[in-house]
């Protein structure tokens, strides 16, 4: 019983620097230049879950990402954590993609990897936070999906039993491989890289595939393949008082409570 697992990961701007993302007031264009990047945090949990499944059932884990050349950094990181191989889907033609066009390219890459039993993803990325790409990859691969897993068990290596939260409780969902599961942060504690992982990085297979390497329709990728379009962005005026208090803790607290009392809020 062996599992062929793919993990979709993404390199994202570091959220600590989000306030530095700028807006061009003339063109309405957003610039993320020079913002430090990180591996999308919940993708670490997806990688961890993949490695645990491989440890239990044996098999192979491949990390895949669609991004600019720099995205290889997060794929290399996945390899140092223990992932077996990586694929970077990189081509100018893939750029400016919305979630559907991104899912389309990822699905094409996963199809080329072939014979995949389980696809794991983070439930959302910190930048867009749309939660869309995971389910859309599943749909385009014609496999079922389960989102926001807080627990995955595979009693016989073929059928998954997954738990996920809803607003007021949780659901238990079953499904057979092949399937796609997006995970929540709650599911596990990601491991850290080991010396062995770092030392064996160069021995592992890292591939880069462009538009010529995977089977895609040109009108389904990049901007052309994106049904949504970003229009003009703008700065909304933030209408808050911004009264920042000063003094000792007791003085600031007293001033705050005085103000709240005056508004009959306490």
């Amino acid at each position: 019983m062996s599992l062929n697992i793919v993990v979709c990961i993404k390199q994202v701007p570091n959220p600590d620097y989000f306030s530095k993302i700028t807006l061009d007031p003339e063109t309405g264009a957003i610039s993320r230049k020079n913002i430090p990047t990180i591996l999308n945090p919940v993708d670490e949990n997806a990688i961890e879950e993949a490695l645990r499944l491989r440890e239990r059932f044996s098999g192979k884990v491949t990390a895949i990402s669609m991004g600019p050349p720099q995205a290889k950094e997060v794929l290399d990181w996945a390899l140092t954590l223990g992932v077996d191989e990586s694929v970077l889907l990189c081509d100018r033609a893939f750029a400016a993609a919305d979630s559907l066009a991104t899912a389309y390219v990822l699905a094409a890459g996963i199809r080329k990897i072939g014979n995949v039993d389980i696809v794991l993803c983070g439930n959302e990325s910190v930048d867009g936070a749309t939660e869309q790409v995971g389910p859309q990859v599943a749909e385009l691969l014609d496999i079922p999906h389960i989102c926001n897993a807080t627990d995955i068990s595979l009693p016989n290596g073929r059928q998954a039993v997954v738990r996920r939260n809803i607003e007021y409780g949780h659901l238990t969902i079953e499904g057979c491989v092949p399937l796609l599961i997006t995970v929540s942060r709650e599911i596990n504690q990601p491991r850290t890289a080991t010396a062995e992982g770092i030392l064996t990085l160069m021995d592992k297979v890292s591939r880069t595939w462009g538009v010529k390497d995977i089977e895609v329709d040109n009108d389904a990728i990049g901007l052309a393949g994106s049904p949504t379009r970003v229009g003009k962005s703008y700065e909304q005026k933030l209408e808050r008082e911004r009264m920042i208090l000063t003094g000792s803790v007791d003085e600031m607290v007293a001033a705050a409570i005085k103000r709240l009392k005056a508004e009959a809020l306490v």
Partner: protein
């Protein structure tokens, strides 16, 4: 859930602007009373898919039924609530019928400046008050998810007439590749973030405490509800129903006290409707101080007990 009625209200407004009607889709089992409620809140038609197999959320089956209906009816716009289930279902439907989907929109408007009316979905950007407009120019329906609390619930009108259309539930094995076999409901206790006048929010800054426990006494003293940000949910400090922001709910309490939250746009977009916002954070440069009315730069573990003491003395 309230969000269904809120987006129904918005749908009616949008429909009126582009000159069309509003329909609702209802899927589950034994739902006729809910169908009548949807009509009272503005639906001109309710497409009802009723079957015992649909009692729990079944992603394949629900996606199939909705996609087939959309292909027949060809609506201009489809709105879904950005609930835990909505965020699972909406992307599947959008990918199945190959249309555009915008997540967690904070404002919906019709742009009539072009040759055909287009839905403009505003979403919060990343810094400050940045708002990004997203449109779906060619593909239909234009799909958008909206969080609970963003739109206003419309008034109920029991005299509003609408058509209840029972639909055939045509499903086979392929529509149940994954199956929800159990739903365990936990009814939350105590004041809730969507209905309380006072909400206290804890964020990642409470990490060293490992929970929001230090905020509970303050919350109780103010008869408020305790909420959290996305990181607080990820850490397991709050349940799903208490998360505020683009992946949770939008709320508008009279007083919001936000503690240990840096002020990420994805969070702050969730409380634009709050009356008075008070922020406590140890980092003077935290963006939260740009979106508060009263700010205290300090350690929550000192400020919060001081507040409790001062409030008790009132």
């Amino acid at each position: 859930m309230d969000v269904s009625l809120e987006i129904l209200g918005k749908a009616s407004e949008l429909a009126e602007e582009i000159g069309g009607g509003t329909a609702a889709i209802l899927i589950g089992d034994e739902l006729s009373p809910l169908a009548r409620e949807l009509i009272a809140y503005g639906a001109d038609k309710v497409y009802l898919f009723s079957d015992p197999r649909l009692t729990y959320y079944q992603s394949d089956a629900y996606t199939r039924l909705i996609s087939d209906l959309l292909e027949k009816q060809q609506p201009e716009i489809l709105l879904l609530g950005g609930t835990t289930i909505g965020m699972d279902l909406a992307p599947s439907v959008a990918a199945r019928i190959k249309t555009g989907l915008t997540a967690h929109s904070c404002k919906l408007e019709i742009d009539k400046s072009g040759d055909k009316p287009l839905l403009m979905a505003a979403v919060p950007g990343w810094g400050g008050g940045m708002i990004v407009n997203i449109a779906c120019p060619e593909h239909r329906p234009q799909m958008v998810t909206v969080q609970q609390g963003v739109m206003e619930k419309p008034p109920r009108d029991d005299h509003h007439s609408g058509e209840l259309i029972p639909m055939e539930v045509k499903l086979n094995e392929r529509d149940f590749r994954v199956k929800c076999i159990e739903m365990v409901e936990t009814i939350p206790e105590g004041p809730q973030i969507d209905t309380s006048d006072v909400v206290v929010v804890g964020g990642y800054g409470m990490k060293c405490q490992g929970s929001l426990l230090p905020l509970e006494e303050l919350t109780d003293l103010l008869h408020g509800a305790l909420g959290g940000t996305r990181p607080a949910l990820d850490e397991g400090w709050i349940p799903e129903c208490s998360m505020i922001g683009v992946n949770g709910k939008a709320i508008g309490p009279k007083l919001l006290i936000t503690i240990g939250t840096s002020g990420a746009n994805h969070y702050t977009a969730g409380f634009v409707k709050a009356g008075t916002v008070m922020a406590i954070n140890s980092d003077p440069d935290a963006p939260i101080f740009d979106v508060c009315d009263i700010g205290i730069v300090g350690d929550a573990l000192e400020v919060v007990p001081a507040m409790v003491k001062a409030l008790k003395a009132l």
